[in-house]
């Protein structure tokens, strides 16, 4: 993808701008696309360079964390401020990114035997202080990126704290990397919501692992501590009770469903990936509670095996239910307590093991009516 974009850079930018202004309509459009591609490449190039060189050198060397300071700009990764083995610095965001990615690495390595995101010692790059007033965090395909929340607003107007403050958010972002190297679930619709849910599941497990909490002791919240005291809410999401994490005059109400009957059909947010993730989230919570003990031991192992060995990039909720059920059978035996817990977990959110998917029903109905042609194009 990047190679293809780099080709556009052969023409110097001033020439492209000239064409964009004076060429034929087709030439203008083409030149405009090239200018934009070049601009996008310029802003991405530093990230690529920073990632490509040391990557081979550190493989199989264990935990390799690098934390960068973006200095409130959009340029990634920014300036290196702490690397593996270096002592803590005075900036809490840097230390949180360092420690949180370390605990995430430890959970995957100690419990599931996975050596980093790619299972081949990939180094863990994090950038903190991304932009100003950036109330968000994301995985850009190569590294974690964290904003400082509403640090630039007067205290009474702030809604969000810095995003490194919640270790489950760090685990969530890194798990997007694991998913990318494993099932590589499409980031859209049900596969996208499943992608999101898997990040919440392992993000929460990272927090539970750090606190040594059983399923019964855990809060099952995502992003607890991110809201300032100005917000009426406890966290961004609740796996225990989707839809109850916040209800605030400015932010509105937590929109997450916890059952298929409340599935939200929308084109926004890549098809509601952060909304409908509440459904598989709650299935994991119920499964964990039914099994008992530390959730990462058994429920987490079932989900991990499913993610790394069974799911594909188009898998939907029904597939996830069927495949976690199969994985539980392989790990703990057919009709075992664990396998029945998985079945009960999905039943609680309205998904029956071996049932027909919503899409399946829809397509079957169209076929019966002789309208299958509507599905094409």
């Amino acid at each position: 993808m990047f190679t293809q974009r780099m080709v556009y850079c052969i023409l110097p930018p001033y020439l492209l701008r000239e064409i964009a202004q004076r060429g034929s309509p087709a030439q203008r459009a083409s030149a405009q696309r090239a200018i934009i591609a070049a601009e996008q490449v310029r802003s991405q190039r530093r990230t690529i360079q920073a990632n490509s060189a040391p990557m081979e050198a550190v493989s199989a060397a264990g935990k390799q964390r690098y934390v960068y300071d973006a200095k409130q700009s959009s340029v990634l990764p920014g300036i290196l401020v702490r690397k593996e083995g270096a002592p803590a610095v005075s900036d809490p965001a840097v230390n949180e990114a360092y420690d949180g990615s370390g605990t995430t690495y430890d959970l995957y390595y100690a419990i599931y035997g996975r050596n980093s995101l790619d299972n081949n010692g990939l180094k863990l790059d994090s950038s903190v202080h991304y932009q100003k007033g950036y109330d968000n965090a994301f995985w850009d395909g190569q590294q974690m990126v964290y904003g400082d929340g509403d640090e630039d607003l007067p205290a009474p107007e702030r809604l969000f704290n810095r995003f490194t403050i919640a270790i489950d958010v760090i685990g969530h972002e890194l798990t997007h990397g694991v998913t990318q190297f494993a099932a590589n679930l499409d980031y859209s619709g049900q596969p996208g919501a499943l992608n999101e849910s898997i990040s919440d599941v392992f993000g929460s497990l990272v927090k539970q692992y750090q606190l040594k909490q059983t399923a019964g002791q855990a809060d099952w919240l995502i992003g607890q501590g991110l809201f300032t005291s100005n917000v009426k809410g406890v966290a961004l999401r609740s796996m225990k009770a989707p839809g109850t994490a916040y209800d605030d005059p400015v932010l509105g109400k937590d929109p997450q469903p916890g059952n298929m009957k409340d599935y939200v059909n929308t084109v926004e947010d890549n098809g509601g990936v952060h909304i409908n993730s509440g459904i598989p989230n709650h299935a994991f919570y119920v499964t964990s509670i039914n099994i008992g003990g530390y959730a990462w031991d058994k429920a987490g192992l079932i989900w991990y095996k499913t993610l790394t060995e069974k799911l594909g990039n188009q898998s939907n909720f029904q597939n996830a239910a069927d495949l976690t059920y199969a994985a539980a059978g392989e790990l703990f035996g057919t009709n075992s307590l664990e396998q029945n817990a998985v079945k009960a977990g999905w039943a609680e959110v309205g998904i029956i093991i071996g049932g027909q998917t919503q899409e399946g029903c829809f397509k079957a109905t169209l076929r019966k009516l002789g309208l299958s042609g509507l599905l094409k194009g």
Partner: protein, 100 residues
Amino acid sequence: MRISYERSGGFMGRKLNFSVDLEELPNDQAETLNRLLQQADFFNLPKDLISRPVPDEFNYIITVETATQSHRVRVSDSSMTDPLRPLLDDLFQRARTGKG
């Protein structure tokens, strides 16, 4: 001229929508926005700058309507270009504070 800003996605999945009529703004602010639109070469931008979805980043849809033309551009944090960024920053500050 009317400018609409729609932000969606992000870790929280919360929408942030905002629109402003330049005619209703103080002259200096309207001039600033006009300058930022020109700097971005807005009306010549492709409709969709996003080449791949990036987990948890924000997606933005910017729509500009004038008496003679209308243009809508979709962009995200990682697909943002330097000429377009100042416009998005300005609109974000207006959107989050609700000030036109």
